[in-house]
Amino acid sequence: MGATRKYVVIDPATGKIDRRIFSEQAVYDDEMARIFGRAWLMIGHESLVPARDDFFHTYMGEDPVILTRDGQGRLHALLNMCRHRGNRVVRCDDGNATRFMCTYHGWTYRNDGALDHVPGKSEAYYDALDRDSLGLVEARVETYAGIVFATWAKDAPSLEAYLGDARWYLDTVFNRRDGGMQALGPMKWLEPVNWKTMVDNCSDNYHVPTTHLSSARMQTRFLGRPRLSHKDQFESPNKHAFVNGHSITFRDADDNAPRYVHGISTETFQLFQDYHAATMAEVERRLGAFRARRVQLGNHSIFPNGILGFRLALPRGPLQTEFWHFVLVDRAAPEALKRAIRIGSQANNGAAGMFEQDDVDNWRQVTAASASQLGRRYPQDLSMGLGHAGPHPEYPGLVSERYISENNQRLFYQRWEEFMNAESWADIALDPIKARFEGTATLRG
């Protein structure tokens, strides 16, 4: 540890968490610099910028960023801020353009970030402006199975090291097919919730039979889905795993069960089953038999703010988060299957999703309680399953004994502390890659 430890917010022995981290502006400001200014952040997907000169407008934390594919097909993540005064040079959500002109004074940038044109270069600036040093600020970019990540940190490790063994699990959804995935979305909305609560909820399977029981019951009644109860969850053989800040929950999957959760109903089941059977040989070749057949990724988060798949919790102050909801579908899936997944997904998730709409009022009260001078005297209690997690012979990461556990949440806040107290990436530990990545799938796809 290079500097004086500043943040001590979780007691690993008791799971008590200081609530101030969910409401204080000063903490939030540190998060923007020390977490969002440093970590690899999910910002987009290659399928959102499929053609040369395509762009997609996104965010790294609060900072607006243009994801571009330049004329040579290379990806760039460019801060959407004219280097002259700071105006945004892009105001659209997406499009296709070789250049971006600032609407204030006309400074114009190429889509690789270079400052290409300044009105009055000779007449007003006497040819003294150093255009080469005034390109759009560019972040480092890497991709994982089509998902685009970016970081502002020059000293950040590779994306492969950052994801580490979490990728062993993530591959089972994101890296299944040779043809890759296609991103649909995003749907965007604001929730009056601190961003961390949305992220830590990704490992909270405990809430599902309470928060979401009405929707689960409707799925049973209308779609023929299995009943959901606390008992099923408590007795589930499924587990949590934690790697490098990434929280994984996974199912010890039945060999022949379809892998999707959204859109399966009595009528569509065969469609999912047929697709599963037809693609299994390919998936086995890509991931090896064990991962292809026995591991099914469940809810998960990618540190710091990736939520359940390729979805984003974008911080908008300590008390507000902009949620970006995407759906990823296998590019090569039959249209009928894509439709079932799309419809099932919108019914469950998103601003209007039956499951997701019931989360918000719970979370926002968690945030509101943290802003209370009285409420914050009493820490959150995340003690569930303390002492019941560790290494596992078959599964990488720190693995919980049970599916219902707060082990991942405790570790998430410890990782948060580590980032907040680090002076540089040299102070942030990375778990070595130890898992056996069987099959032909690579980081790139």
């Binding site: 997406d94 965007k188 909305w189 009405s214 997904s345 209007a352």
Partner: protein, 193 residues
């Protein structure tokens, strides 16, 4: 109105039955007069939380669709609304609509329990006949939602419906809802539009 409700099925009959056209009205004006009460009634059903009756206003093959609305340049306005097949905010068939309504009666649909207080103001009706006796009806809406203690939202947008007569009553066979927001400012979208 409440008393009438107790008298059984006839209560769900909208004022949209083919009526004798008052003298001096064009067919388009008569259609407008027939449909405006339909939309007023729908608004009351929603605001009075009579959602089972509201569901009966839709055909069994309804598509209830709310695309996303993007910021694009004026010259690319054709890309402003996401097409069917892209990720929508809502892309519902009748069964999913029924699930949403039935869910509210479980006592555990927390986004709407306690329920929102809504006011649907629907107007600017334009109607145009389509083939096979169907009608296209466009309306604009302002929907105010108040929830719990101090949460409140104003949803503004338009609806483009395709209406069809089923057994003499107008039903909504397709509804496209276009919100005027890009990033929704609402914590969730748990009320019907």
């Amino acid at each position: 109105m409440k008393k009438k409700r107790a008298r059984g099925r006839s209560r769900t009959r909208p004022a949209a039955r083919p009526a004798t056209r008052p003298a001096g009205l064009t067919p388009a004006q008569a259609l407008w007069l027939e449909l405006m009460p339909f939309y007023i009634r729908e608004a009351w059903l929603l605001d009075e939380r009579r959602l089972t009756e509201w569901l009966a206003l839709f055909t069994d093959d309804v598509l209830y669709f709310m695309p996303r609305r993007k910021n694009v340049l004026r010259r690319e306005s054709h890309r402003e609304l996401t097409p069917l097949g892209d990720l929508a905010i809502l892309e519902e068939d009748k069964r999913y609509l029924e699930m949403r309504v039935a869910r509210l009666d479980t006592g555990m649909a927390w986004a709407e329990d306690p329920p929102s207080r809504t006011r649907h103001l629907v107007g600017n009706l334009e109607v145009a006949p389509l083939a096979r006796g169907e009608v296209q009806a466009k309306t604009a809406f302002l929907v105010y939602r108040s929830h719990l203690e101090t949460d409140h939202q104003l949803l503004s947008g338009c609806r483009e419906d395709v209406l069809r007569r089923v057994k003499g009553e107008w039903k909504i066979a397709r509804r496209t809802i276009v919100l005027d927001a890009n990033v929704l400012l609402d914590k969730n979208l748990s009320v019907f539009l």
